[in-house]
Amino acid sequence: MSVQTLNISTSPHLTKGLSTETIMFHVVLAMLPMVFFAIYSFGFNAALVIFTAVVSCVLTEHVLCRISKKPTTIGDWSATITGILLGLTLPPIFPLWMTFLGGVIAIAMGKFLFGGLGYNAFNPALVGRAILQAAFPVAITTWYGAFQLDRFSTINASVLAFPFTEPIVDGTTGATPLSAFKFDGVTTDATDLAFGLVSGSAGETSAILIILGGLYLIRRGFMNWRIPMAILLTVFVFSGLLFWIDPVKYPSPLFMLLSGGLMLGAVFMATDMVASPITSLGVVIYGIIIGALVVVIRIWGGLPEGVMYAILLGNAISPHIDRLIRYRVYGTSKLQKS
C-alpha cells in the first residue's frame, strides 16, 4: 500500500453532483424551442433581436466582472438566460440599439448593482424590459404580424434604426390579441393562441412550447412547479369569476391564460429562483399575488398587459414572504417571531 497524500475534508463527503451551472444550462435548453419558434414565425427580425439581447447581456456581465476585478461569471449561463428572456419579451421588430441598451440595463442595474447572481431582488430581464418600456413606449408597443411572407427575405427598417433615433413605424404591424381586446373589444381564437399563430413579443406567442419547456424543467427538478401552477390557476379562477358575472364585458378565462406574456412570465420569469420565495407555501402565496395582479392590471389598468409589473411586484414582496412564512422548526410548536 503506497499512500502519497490523504485528502481531508469535513463531512459530508458526498454531494448530489448537481451544480448551479447545470441547472442554468438546462433552463437555456428548455427555452430553445421557443427561440426557434420565434424565429420561424417572425423571421430574421426576431433572430436579430434575440441574438443582440444575449450578446449584450453576456458582454455586459463579462465587462462588469473585469471592471470589478472578479473572475468572469458568464460561464454560469445566467446572463445567457437573461438575454434570451429579454429578447423573447421584446417586439420582433424592436430596434437593435434599444435591445442592446436593454441588455446592458438588465445586467448592470437588474443584477450587478445588487451584487450579481444570487443577490438580484428582481428578475434582471424584467428590469431591463421595464426601463425600455418607460423609455421607448412607442417602439415597445409596435408589433409585427406573425408569418409574414417576407420574414426571411427582408429586415424591417425599424430593427436597424440608427442608434438614438426612433424607428419609422411600419405599415405591416399587427395588434396583439390583448391590445385588440383592450382597445377594440375583439377576442382571438384560443387555438391560434395556443399554437402561436398570433402577433406579440418574439417569444410569448406559443403557449404550448412554453408549457413543454416548463414541463421539461419541472421533470428534471429544476423548476418549482407551484409557481406557474399558482399563477395560472389564480388567473383562471379570478378571470373565470369575472367572465361568469358578465361574459360580454370580460374576456374568457382561456383567452386570459393563453394571451400575452402570461405563459412565458409564469413559467420562465416568475420562477427565477433568486427572486422568488423559498418555502412551498411561500411560493404559492407569491404565485397567487402575481396572478391576481395580472388580472387586475389587464382588466382595470391602463395597459393591455400587466405580467411584467405583476412579477416585478411579486419579486419585491418575496423577501417579506420568506420572513413571514417559515417552516415550523422540528420540535417547536409555537409560531416563530419574525
Binding site: M1, S2, V3, T5, L6, N7, I8, S9, T10, S11, P12, H13, L14, T15, K16, L18, S19, T20, E21, T22, I23, D76, G115, G116, L117, G118, Y119, N224, M273, V274, S276, I278, T279, S280, L281, D322, L324, I325, R326, Y327, R328, V329, Y330, G331, T332, S333, K334, L335, Q336, K337
Partner: protein, 457 residues
Amino acid sequence: MINGLKGEKNSIDAVLTLHRHTFRHGVHPPENKEDTNGLPIRRFPFSPLIILPVAQHLGAPSKLVVKEGQEVVRGQLLAEADGYVSVPLHAPVTGKIRKIANVPTISGKMVPGIYLEAAPSSTQELIEGEGVDYHTATPDEILAGVQNAGIVGLGGAAFPTHAKLKIPEGKHCDDLIINGIECEPYLTTDHRVMLEQPNDIFMGIRYLLKSTGAKRAIIGIEANKQDAADFLSGRLPDDIPVTVEVVPVKYPQGAEKMLITALLGKEVPSGGLPIDVHAVVVNVATTAEIGRLLPHGRGIQERVITITGPGVNKKGNYLIPIGTPLRYALDQVEVNGRISEVYMGGPMMGVAVSNLDISIVKGTSGIVVFTDQEVSRPDRIYPCIKCGACVDACPLSLNPSKLGILAKFEAYDEMAKEYHLMDCFECGSCSYVCPSHIPLVQYFRLSKSIVRKRKAS
C-alpha cells in the same frame, strides 16, 4: 407543517407523520450497500501492536490501572471509569503493555493511551467477570453491568450507554427503540448484526426493557434491509413485548430524533432529549453487545466494522479488535494504491482520516476508502441562488440558505436566536444537495462552536 397557517397542531402533525411512517424532508444519497450487505461477518486477525486511546467515549477519560511492562489477558481491565459519564477499557488481546504514552487520534490530537503488544500465540480466550442475570437484577444493577462492560453507542456517537439509559428523576420511558436504520451509505454493520446475532439482540432488549422500564420495544429497520426485518420478525421471542417496524429509506433516519418521529409520530422538543417524549433509542449493535457481554460479565474488546469503498479489494464486514491500527486493517483488506480519502464512519457524517497510524476505537462503525478517481472537488462555490433545495432537505426544517448567508456575515447570535442554529445535528443533507456547493453544514459546525464559546465566556 408550515407554521404560517398552523399554530399548535401537533396532533394533526402526529397523525400525518405516523401515516407516512417517516419524518419530514431528508435526502436520498446513493446507498452503495450491495458490495458488503451479503457478506457474513468475519473475524479479523490480531494486529501485532494494539494502540488504545484511554478515552474512546464522550465524557470523563478513564483511569489507567495497569503499568508499563505488565502482562495482560484478553478481557482484563486496563482502565476504570472515572465518574458516572465514563466507561472502563478492557484488553482486546492477550499480551504485554509496551508503553504508556500519548497516541494519535482521528482529530489529530495526541491523547494518553496504551501500546499493547499482542502475545505471538494469543487466542480468543478471555477473562470473564461476574455476570448480570436479567431475571434477578435490578435496573441499577443492569446499568452498572452496562458501564462495567465498557459499552458506548456503537453507531458512532460513543456516548456511554448506561448514562443514556439512566432515566432522570420524574421522567419515565414508554418506548424502547432499537435503531437498526443504518442510513449512512456504504455501511452494512448493523445489517449483518441483525442477520447473524438475533439472540444477542433479543437478550440485549431484555436487559434494556428492564433497566428503562419501557412498556414495549420496537426494532426500527429501513426498507432496504427487508431481509433482516423478516429474519428478526420470524424469531421474535414470546417473553418480551418487541416488534419490528420497517420504514422507508431516507437519510438521516438513523438520527434519534428522526427515528422517533418516524416510528412514534412524536417530535422531540427543540433542545430536549428522547426521554422528553418518553422514548429511549439504542443502536442495534450496541443492544447485541449488551446481550452478549452482560450474562458473562465481559468487557467489550472487539466490534463489527464494515470496510468498504472503491479503494478496497477485500470489502467486507469484519469483527475487529478495538485498538487495531488503521494501517494494519487497510493492509489486511488490500487497499488499492491510489487511495485518496479514508473516512471513519459513513461518507455523510464520518470523519476524514489524516493519519493512518490512528487506531479503530469503540465508536468506529465503518471505514470507507475512496481513490482519487471517485473524489471530485467542486471547482467553485457559486452564490446561493435560493433554489430551496436545502430547505426541503433539512430534517429539522431549518432554513440552511438563510443560516448560510448569516454565517457569512458572522451574525452568529441571530443564527442561534432566530433560526435555531443549535438544533442542527450536522447531518449534512444541506451541503449534500446544494447546487452552488456552499459548505453549509461546515459553516454551521463552526458557527455552533463559536456560539458555544460565547455562551461559556
